[in-house]
Symmetry: C2
Subunit: 342 residues, 2 copies
């Protein structure tokens, strides 16, 4: 059996409560006894039983994190940020993956909420009304989503798109394609509308080539539509899609950035390593994760359930080699190429 608070109390010659205080609220005990207790605890290798503590404090010391797809590097970065912040605050985190399924999302949220003090719901796909309504037993912080009445951490997607458009416009592009992500993604919506506004403001023609799964294959599938669109530049919902796009453009023999410039979003690690390296709107993933944890913990600290803090983090365009000066015409299109798989 593991060593309990009682063993420590006996070893130190004090009562259980003193041990409890010496360990949790050191200020409340005499320095001498405190040290004696701490020494005994250390010597015996005492580790408080979290279940027992939780039973009385009503806190589990656990956080939940729900993401649409762990295999998307964007989310694994967020996970790492959350993990780090949680560990620093002596909390553990349950991670769940919804496989992009909005229904699973709410179910998981309900299930998790029994076992954690609070949950971070990252890039939820469920509709606003559901998110506003879910009755759960613990705190909830949204990430990459703004819903009235719910605290949340977001990034300035619209400004990222503005930067991207400004960059492409400066390079002479006048017709830009957009490969959208899931319709149910708030980030996609934000990016799409931000893009639209910026394009209008700069007199750029925007071609919406459709909604695609936010995965490599989404980009591959979109590639041919992008080529057919006649655009000289394309902005993808995220880097994973942009990389799929790069792959398909390569297969079709279209060279980047000579014939088409490509811009991604998120700045996942791999995007700096592709050929060519991907120009992308960088999102502070770790920081967003940390911010969400901080918000959750502060919510738990001052338990006035009414506050719904919001925090928006900046985005930053990273200019790399996948974007370049616009080609003078689109004469290259339609020329059969060696790499073509058709």
């Amino acid at each position: 059996m593991a060593v309990t608070i009682r063993d420590v109390a006996e070893a130190a010659g004090v009562s259980q409560s003193t041990v409890s205080r010496a360990l949790s609220m050191p200020g409340l005990v005499n320095a001498a006894t405190r040290e004696r207790v701490q020494a005994a605890a250390r010597e015996l290798g005492y580790q408080p039983n979290r279940a027992a503590r939780g039973l009385i404090t009503g806190r589990t010391g656990n956080l939940g994190l729900i993401v649409p797809d762990l295999s998307n590097p964007f989310f694994s970065s967020v996970v790492k940020g959350v993990q780090a912040a949680a560990r620093a605050a002596d909390h553990s985190v349950f991670i769940a993956d919804t496989d992009e399924d909005a229904d699973v999302e709410v179910d998981l949220l309900r299930a998790l909420s029994k076992q954690v003090d609070g949950t971070i719901l990252c890039s939820p796909r469920a509709p606003d009304v559901e998110l506003a309504a879910v009755g759960i037993d613990s705190a909830l912080v949204l990430m990459n989503r703004r819903v009235d009445g719910r605290p949340g951490v977001t990034v300035d997607n619209a400004d990222g798109m503005r930067q991207a458009v400004a960059h492409l416009a400066a390079l002479g592009h006048r017709r830009i394609a957009f490969v959208a992500g899931p319709r149910t993604s708030w980030s996609n919506e934000q990016r799409e509308s931000g893009l639209q506004r910026s394009a209008e403001a700069s007199g750029i023609e925007l071609v919406h080539v459709g909604y695609f799964p936010p995965q490599f294959e989404g980009g591959v599938a979109a590639g041919d539509l992008v080529i057919a669109s006649g655009a000289t530049a394309v902005i993808a919902y995220n880097d994973v899609v942009a990389i799929g796009l790069l792959s398909r453009l390569g297969a079709r023999g279209v060279s980047v950035p000579e014939q088409i410039s490509v811009v991604g979003c998120d700045d996942i690690g791999m995007s700096a390593m592709t050929h060519p390296p991907l120009t992308t709107v960088s999102v502070p993933k770790h920081e967003a994760g940390r911010a969400a944890v901080a918000m959750l913990l502060s919510l738990l600290a001052d338990n006035d359930g009414a506050s719904t803090p919001q925090r928006e983090l900046p985005t930053q365009l990273m200019v790399r080699a996948s974007t370049g000066v616009a080609p003078e015409s689109d004469r290259f299109r339609g020329r059969p190429t060696k790499g073509s798989t058709q």
Copy 2:
């Protein structure tokens, strides 16, 4: 306050113990009362408090999973398999990421072991002696590692390599490069030695181009060495590295598979979507995750701490377009190409 067993007991007009039995060991109570209790529980939305239950049973209902790097799609697949199996058995899982750091690994294992019934340590990088020695409070199952005295789930890496070599040999390749993964990776060691044996047996010359981080950039870095090696085919430690390789080969203007054939390992989703699609040794990731959970749970069930079950899963070569007939000579090498970044 949440609804407790006491509320259910009152509502059903029975004692707490009866409620407990009706819910946990339905066989022990009268069918009539059982239904009454279950109805009451359902009506009140009763959810047993896991902390309270854990306090008495000594089980938390939680599992731990430690992986080297969540952003590697291989591990996110494993995670998904583990999650699914755990959920099916009504367990939650704590996931931790070591960032490929062997020291963090053991620390995390110790920390986790206090809060879970058992832990799956996936692809550990720590040395055998440490793994054999760690004294922890809960069960441990290794994955992708075989250590005496520890239960584990592995895959037949050597056979996968044998299949790959046989495939390449049949295509006429006589000189094969190998891009190794981390020296501390057991899988790498298995793949390397399996490869060596198969190459010898088939009279193939094997060129070891060095050890690389198991990431996209590892493959990029290895690319030039592979080209310089004079090999007509290359086998990479895993798919992520192989994809980095593909990228670098493309940048250097070396065409795959015409000039060099490329084989990966793991069969991550993306590998079927690259250009060209990647021939790879498929590893049953989900199944391995499920198997590890099953092993862990069975270990927990019959708590005779002595048994150390081992399970090995098969691997399967997936032949795709990145491998082809060996070029007749290596005259292509050194020719400057448009794609070169040098």
